[in-house]
Amino acid sequence: MSTLAIPASRLDLDRALFMVGAWALALVWLLPLAYAVWTAIHPAAFETRFEPFAPLTLENFVRAWNAAPFARYFVNTILLVTMILTAQLILCSLAAFAFARFEFPGKNTLFALVLVQLMVMPDILLVRNYATMGSLGLIDTILAIGLPYFASGFAIFLLRQTFKTVPRELDEAARVEGCSWPGLLWRVYVPLAKPTMLAFGLVSISHHWNNFIWPLIITSSVETRPLTVGLSIFATTDSGIEWSIITAATLITSAPLLIGFLLFQRQFVQSFMRAGIK
């Protein structure tokens, strides 16, 4: 009951501080985006000058869109993130289920090995992964961009922890009813792990949407390359950066993610809170 003892003025102060902090953080987050929007819809001359009535233009978007085959890159990126997420959810649910509910020899060692994956920077494996893709004959395919990420250690770990929180009673009740192992996973565990899966899906999609160096290295043609490779042609260090074009291109390529996040914001935040990822 101590909260009742706090005088109202102090509560107000707390609240005010909280609001100021939240707004400050939100502004810091929003500023680059606001700059991007401002620069993208004005002619290049207003890149570093703020005039409220500067002429508006969509020309930057047109020029950016025409500078690279972005339509094809969009298709590739969407195919890529969908493929990776689907494969990750299937493979990692199965693995996590085994780690959470089965007993088998070497289980802890194997799980430790999975955790080791979390500590290895993917960039270290560029050459090894390239050689593997080469021996599989997969160089310059969308499958090759995704394959190294299918068995995600992070997803296995996350789902195993979630599956472990599922009450044994539910598990046993389903088994008494004659449910098979796959049925148990599908009907009991997966529905209960949905918030975790949604949260992981967001992390996975945004990571692979933005991934650059591995796709650049393993692909060579327009048919396989993702958006980030298209975006990189605007990083023109030798000739001075045209901010209006680069911001327009950035908005084009990140628009689906931004819009998706704004639309499903409530669900994302809730699932993050439930899954406990930050």
Partner: protein, 427 residues
């Protein structure tokens, strides 16, 4: 699934066999893009034109990001057993590529006559970053050099002759003082000069070092650096004094990428940046501007920069012969002129400048000629073994002196020690 995969593999094998029957030689060629405009399209256009003339050669020109990304990809693909035949990488990556044992010297694939006429036809300033140990490792292609751009309107407003850029360090300070404009509250609305210090600080700094009278920052073997000489320290003291003592340059670290914009917005009346910016500034500057050589001190001087063609190990003799032929074609006057005009890079051969197209271009854009004239005074860009680490060391030292953490002499002495420790094993 398995069937589908098998079918897919089979069909690609058939395709590969078919393409081999149709094309005698397949080449892969990695290129970075570091300039705006349609550089990628120009390169693809060039390879297509070459294939039209040589139907037995098929060249796949693959855009591979920035210079750093291209180097990463070339090393990864070579290690992964799938090297390209050709790649354009930074000329200063020569020692790294030799050290990694991934590239071949061009000498082995050229006759004596070609060595003399073709390799000998490039400006010597560009070849200094392309040859070492008596062998040629790079063929200059997208090369640049820094120049001084000045705002003629601002010069006229400050009572200076709008047609004359500063010729010496002393003049740059004097002009800068006349050009720096403060409003009533003392805030600067126009700075005299801007030498950017992020991005490639060591590159522009080499320009100061060259004018101070030192022939670059490293020896030609890539095993020694000269960071703590009086010339280098004097150059750094001058750079620091521009902001602190003379107050003609904005203090702090000045961004490379924002420099053309600062010039075009009238924030700085003189800027140092690459010739690669010429097209951008010509199209977007709302005022008349001039392009001049970097001001001299002991002597005029500037570094060269940019990318070379490299030839990779692990290819068949036919592929290498075709690759050499393609590069000879691409650097011939007509193609080199097209490339230079489209991108703003300096054409690296005298015969290109003599071609009609280039003459017409030089007439239209006299600024383009300044870069070529400056080549007579050019020194090599910093290039050593462990290049990226050594460059980082001097960049950090320059930054430390600019922000005032260390005096120029201290910063450079530290940098020399750190670089010596790394390079000792190569001596």
């Amino acid at each position: 699934m398995k069937h589908a995969l098998k079918g897919f593999l089979a069909s690609t094998t058939v395709l590969a066999a078919m393409s081999q029957a149709a094309w005698a030689v397949d080449l892969e060629f990695y290129f970075p893009v570091a300039v705006g405009g349609s550089a990628a399209e120009t390169i693809e256009g060039l390879t297509e034109a070459y294939m039209a003339e040589n139907p037995d050669v098929s060249i796949e020109a693959i855009y591979t990001g920035s210079y750093a990304d291209t180097t990463t990809r070339a090393i990864t693909a070579s290690r992964g057993g799938n090297p390209p035949q050709l790649a354009i990488l930074l000329s200063v990556d020569m020692f790294t590529m030799i050290d990694e044992d991934l590239v071949l010297p061009w000498d082995d694939f050229l006759t004596e006559e070609e060595m003399e006429d073709w390799v000998g036809g490039f400006y010597p300033a560009f070849m200094r970053n392309s040859q070492t140990g008596g062998q040629t490792w790079g063929i200059p292609f997208q090369r640049s050099t820094p120049v001084l751009y000045w705002n003629k309107e601002a010069f006229a407003a400050a009572g200076l002759d709008p047609e004359t850029p500063p010729a010496t360090w002393q003049e740059m300070v004097e002009f800068g003082e006349a050009l720096t404009i403060r409003d009533d509250s003392g805030t600067v609305t126009q700075w005299g000069v801007r030498i950017p210090s992020s991005g490639f600080p060591s590159w522009l700094f080499t320009g100061l070092v060259a004018s101070a009278g030192q022939d670059g920052l490293a020896n030609d073997a890539g095993t020694e650096v000269y960071f703590d000489t009086p010339e280098v320290i004097g150059a750094l003291e001058y750079l620091v004094a521009l902001a602190n003592e003379h107050e003609v340059m904005e203090p702090g670290i000045l961004d490379w990428g924002a420099t053309p914009r600062a010039f075009m917005d009238g924030n700085a009346a003189m800027v140092w940046t690459t010739t690669g910016n010429l097209t951008n500034i010509r199209t977007n500057a709302p005022f008349d501007f001039g392009v001049g050589m970097l001001p001299a001190n002991e002597r005029p001087g500037a570094p060269t920069g940019g990318g070379n063609f490299y030839l990779f190990q692990g290819s068949s003799d036919e592929q290498l012969a075709a690759a050499v032929d393609f590069v000879q074609w691409a650097t011939a006057p007509e193609q080199a002129a097209e490339w230079s005009i489209a991108t703003g890079y300096v054409a690296p051969r005298a015969d290109t400048w003599e071609s009609e197209r280039m003459q017409a271009y030089a007439q239209e854009v006299p600024g383009a000629l300044v870069a070529r004239e400056q080549l007579a005074h050019a020194v090599p860009e910093l290039s050593t073994f462990e290049g990226p680490r050594i460059t980082q060391i001097i960049n950090d030292a320059i930054a430390a002196a600019i922000v005032g953490d260390m005096t120029p002499a201290e910063a450079m002495a530290d940098a020399q020690d750190a670089a010596d420790a790394i390079l000792a094993v190569y001596r």
